[in-house]
């Protein structure tokens, strides 16, 4: 009976009410039913054979991570309660951990966090429906990984540097210090000059870093910097065989810009370079 099973999942899900109704209204269910268990999908890889990756799955009791194969591609999944997974630290890191493990030997297209399917058949349907898109992207990402590069600077230190190097700013500062009357306009002017100089410097610097990493990477994306210390928040797509070169190049840049802080992470699945949006279309009930 469908209702009993749905009642069982209801406790664990916010969508419980709507889901129960929808299920009751839907046509007679098909076997086999997942008994409140679903399958969490981590990523898609190219593989013709079934693979296992050990008990590293999402959830309090990590379950076995394995493939569900369709033709020459496969979804990496693990059994999980049929519920909406909150983006807690443990869950998010588990998602990433599985991706990183699979990535060691395979090119992956990462799934965004929290995608749960009810049955194996549903995942096969996913693989079948988006087969061309997956193959296309797998081909393009073949042997490539992503690296994150965030660059931070010490704004105050930069301002001091500008005051030291920039003739106009230095002049203005002296004026403000020695002037007897109101210094209001001089100070406004000073602030404007500093802002401009900071902007110019950060742009020059960021462009230089992008350029220097250009020929050791396949592509790059600049995301919005977070906070006022960050001047660059980028992702680079790098071929596996250029990884060492990329590494060396970035270290050289770090040495050149001693005043900057680099946060260098990876290898990541190519999250920033793959964007596949899927949606459900209502089919005619049989």
């Amino acid at each position: 009976m469908p209702t009993t099973q749905h009642r069982r999942t209801k406790r664990t899900t916010k969508a419980g009410d709507g889901a129960t109704q929808a299920a009751a209204a839907s046509p007679a269910p098909r076997a086999p039913r997942g008994d409140g268990r679903g399958k969490y999908v981590y990523c898609i890889i190219g593989s013709t054979e079934p693979l296992r990756f050990g008990a590293i799955g999402i959830g309090a009791q990590p379950s076995d991570v394995h493939t569900i194969n369709y033709r020459d591609i496969a979804a990496i999944v693990s059994d999980t309660p049929l519920e909406v997974h909150d983006a807690t630290r443990e869950n998010v890191l588990a998602h990433e951990r599985v991706n990183e493990t699979v990535m060691r030997d395979h090119t992956v297209i990462p799934m965004s966090f929290g995608t749960v399917f009810k049955t194996r058949d549903d995942i096969i349907e996913l693989l079948r429906a988006a087969y061309d898109a997956f193959c296309d992207v797998l081909g393009k990402m073949q042997g490539k990984v992503e690296f994150g590069v965030k660059v931070l600077w010490d704004r105050d230190e930069m301002v001091r540097e500008i005051e030291r190097d920039d003739e106009d700013v230095r002049q203005l500062k002296k004026e403000i210090a020695t002037q007897k009357g109101s210094t209001y306009f001089a100070r406004v002017q000073y602030g404007r000059l500093i802002d401009q100089a900071l902007q110019t410097r950060s742009e020059r610097c960021v462009n230089d870093i992008f350029e220097t990493l250009g020929d050791v990477s396949v592509a790059s994306r600049a995301n919005k910097p977070i906070g006022d210390k960050m001047i660059m928040n980028a992702a680079f797509l790098v071929a596996r065989d250029k990884e060492a070169a990329f590494d060396a190049r970035l270290k050289a840049i770090g040495a050149r810009y001693g005043a900057l802080t680099f946060k260098y992470t990876g290898p990541w699945p190519p999250y920033n370079f793959v964007n596949i949006r899927l949606k459900l279309e209502r089919a005619q009930p049989e």
């Binding site: 299920a23 799934m111 965004s112 994306r221 793959v274 949006r277």
Partner: protein, 112 residues
Amino acid sequence: MPVERTTGGTSLIDVLDRVLDKGIVIDAWVRVSLVGIDLITVEARIVVASIDTYIRYSEAVGQVSSASKPAQVDSRTHEAVLAENEALRAQLSAAATDGRVRTRRRRHAQAV
């Protein structure tokens, strides 16, 4: 300051930056509805709404500018399409009320 690489999974912020809305994304509505509905094979089927790999931008415009390009390129195309839509719609409604436009077109088609 020396640049050290850390593996992805060590920084929660960096992970969150990526996993929440990047990669393969299924509509939020779907994700919720997955719970408890007899899914795809019965009621609905999955379709690819859009697919993008950001490689092509860098090939087209070079590394540096590729950085901020995608959004700009997209929005400009989007606007252009919207404008074109608008223009076409205007033409259409004009054609619907004004027979001449239609006639002229038909004549043109015959000439071709």
